[in-house]
Subunit: 230 residues, 2 copies
DNA sequence: AGATCTATATATAACAA
DNA sequence: TTTGTTATATATAGATC
């Protein structure tokens, strides 16, 4: 009968830990709802446990989405004030790279059309043009809504690192000669394209527990994949 | 001296409400941290109040991002089980539309190249080709990381509706004749392209309190914008 | 605005059925 | 495994500083 003052540390006894979890979770959710009612404020709680496959949340799913949608907007404001956190750092990298990417895209486009026109003018290689693999110029990443990931259980201990492995760009696959372009690719580009194994991983919508761009799971770089050499 | 049992209702007295909020928030956060420590589980809490401009969260920002990232993955699993909620409905629409989009994109590509070749062969209109506006073929949406939205305060009352207004596609702007393509556009396409006012809104990264695609604030349809007629 | 006090309400650890 | 009991720890309403 609670004769001991709780020691604030992980409860090693599995049974006791589970019992404590259930009791305290119940109490906590009650407190959460009380605070919301008494003070008329927005609040949400999300609890993961090994005992439930789904996280237990307050309030209901719709309500929590409302609160989260509100929360998701915050980092955009924060970073405009303090520009030191990792998120803003990555965002800056993306912004800069996007500019490069846009230029590159435009260049490639120009070269491709120039080349087509040149071949037409010289009257050679028309058959080659017909062979141009249009499938590879498409938008492969759009099928991302399929293939749900395996159910997440316990999250791994935090391992903060720059997710360079996640920043992937699709390679140009057409038969158009792009040797010049490849040579001109700046360092940031080649850095992010050196890991082909990420491609499949990304398309299957699965990923590990590594840090990712906050609040935008579903984009997982469709921006990149769609934008380059489309 | 707490002689009254609390009535579980909104505290009308402003002063009392604020006092209660402060005390209970402190207690709640303590409970949250205790539960996390004692049972070694992932948990987060987000509290909005009129008394703080920023939401008060547990754990710290990094930790909460980790938990939220985990949470964000959930809908993908859920929808594979129960296919009845709004999110999955929208996702299905997107998946289906993406397929159509891909075909359309491929068709346009084929027609454009065919036309270029035809013009080259007949020896006419080479000047027109040079005038092709390459800027409009680019990737405008990539500059989204600028222009933070206005600070959110209290969230508006929930107004659930299908965000068709948000689903926008960029119009083809090149001088290539696409009359045939326009005529062939299915109903879903024209439905989603009839509201030009949404364009600017989307590019400026601002939006109201309307429901949005869950857990993916930042994509706000870059998929669409980049993918169509690139 | 907070800090402290204190009586009471509430939560819960250990045990039992 | 859950439910109930109970002694004790903890939270907190209302007052005061």
């Amino acid at each position: 009968m609670t004769r001991k003052k709780v020691k604030l540390a992980f409860i090693t006894n599995d049974l006791a830990r589970k019992a404590t979890f259930k009791k305290r979770k119940k109490g906590l959710m009650k407190k959460v709802s009380e605070l919301s009612t008494l003070c008329g404020i927005d609040i949400c709680a999300i609890i993961y446990s090994p005992y439930e496959s789904q996280p237990e949340v307050w309030p209901d799913n719709r309500g929590i989405h409302r609160v989260l949608a509100q929360f998701k907007r915050m980092p955009e404001m924060e970073q405009s004030k303090k520009m030191v956190n990792q998120e803003s750092f990555i965002r800056q990298r993306i912004a800069k790279a996007s500019e490069q990417l846009k230029k590159q895209h435009k260049e490639n486009r120009e070269k491709e059309i120039t080349r087509i026109m040149y071949q037409c003018l010289t009257g050679e290689g028309l058959q080659n043009l017909m062979m141009l693999d249009l499938n590879d110029l498409g938008i492969d990443e759009l099928k991302n809504t399929t293939a749900p990931p395996p159910p997440p259980q316990q999250v791994a201990p935090p391992s903060p690192h720059i997710p360079t492995g996640n920043l992937y760009m699709q390679e140009q696959k057409s038969t158009v000669d792009l040797t010049m372009d490849v040579m001109q690719r700046p360092q940031w580009f080649t850095d992010w394209t050196n890991n082909p194994s990420d491609h499949q991983q990304m398309n299957s919508f699965g990923h590990g527990d590594e840090m990712m761009l906050p609040f935008c799971e579903n984009n997982h770089n469709t921006m990149w994949s769609n934008a380059i050499f489309p």
